[in-house]
Subunit: 188 residues, 2 copies
DNA sequence: CCTCAAGTAGAACGATCGGTCTCTTTCATT
DNA sequence: AATGAAAGAGACCGATCGTTCTACTTGAGG
């Protein structure tokens, strides 16, 4: 291979991409491994080689989503914006996501609804993601105004959760509009 | 019987109460009808007499939750409060619910996450509930200030959704506190 | 050339799923 | 006392679930 460890596995990538798509669109418990295997175009044995159980596949799906969001937000944090503009950018990203045609709500909230047991690895992964997100938002608000940062930051996250949850249960345009306005009010 | 149509069915009531408890606590797709039957202390045949399919049982569970909320809020609406105080009372009810020891999030949002298909009866029931709730809240804000009512009302619902979604994924006390403060800010 | 991991192909496992069936018992209403 | 709906008890169905298995093929690296 050209460089070291670049080639992971074509089958594994397809498997995870397919699982992500179907799990997000239809829910985790509503989809069997047969569906994932069939639509990924691989074999049972291949799937179980890379993901020894469905539990692991689902957990990987959530952890990968977590990683992607962290990467995206992380890039924003290193840009030369003011903290307020960073928050605005994050809010706009959320609004865009809600308006995406295949938007089905927050992958993490949906997963938590399907796995309410706090001991479940998927549930834990969701909590880990949310803890990171809240801390990140609180950190940004802290740079704006140390006194009101806690309340404003938590309000921001609450609006995000509400917008993401309602985004696929109402008109997305309306929801994202309400969300962006509320965030604007929070930042002035 | 003492009066007309008071006696519905002891078994049916127990069945629905048990289903409500387990479905809400553990998720609908994670619980089989065997669990419901066993914990309700009834027979398979009895369950299928009252609820010809699991789908119907689940739909009834959501519709009953809908009815209960409408009844509770409806009682508030006929009390002699100002519209703003009615909204405050509704918000306080939500905050109390979040602090309830067995709180596992919004039953409607959780159900929607498990049944994303818009054609599913359960999904439809959730949409119906949410449409009623939004309209009710908008109506109250409309009585306060006709100009800003739409935005404020939608913001109220968005905060509610966020609070209910996050209430079991973080410290409930903190979440309900943030929610009530945000509502207070919205009403002044 | 040989090796060995990765992938294909598909049968098969026990468990559980939602749902149907028959038979008996209870019990309030006529 | 007779009737019939409601409920109990439990066997049974086909389908699907997640999972394991064996056997064959491919392809890149030593």
């Amino acid at each position: 291979m050209s460089s070291e460890t670049v080639k992971v596995s074509k089958a594994r990538d397809k498997l995870l991409a397919t699982a992500t798509e179907i799990f997000y669109a239809e829910g985790v418990n509503s989809v069997g491994v047969d569906r994932v295997i069939a639509e990924a175009g691989v074999t049972r044995a291949t799937m179980y080689r890379h993901f020894p159980s469905k539990q692991i596949l689902v957990t990987t799906y959530i952890q990968e989503a977590d990683r992607a969001v962290r990467e995206h937000v992380g890039a924003l944090l290193t840009s030369d914006r003011t903290p307020a503009d960073m928050l605005r950018a994050i809010a706009e990203n959320i609004a865009e996501e809600i308006n995406f045609s295949h938007f089905r709500g927050c992958a993490f909230l949906n997963a938590a609804a399907e796995f309410p047991d706090p001991g479940n690895p998927v549930h834990k992964a969701v909590l880990a993601h949310r803890a990171w997100f809240l801390e990140t938002i609180l950190g940004l608000f802290d740079q704006i105004d140390r006194d009101s940062s806690d309340d404003a930051g938590r309000r921001f996250v609450m609006l995000r959760d509400g917008a993401m949850a309602a985004g696929c249960l109402a008109e997305p345009k309306q929801v994202s509009r309400t969300f962006l306005r509320a965030v604007d009010a929070l930042l002035s």
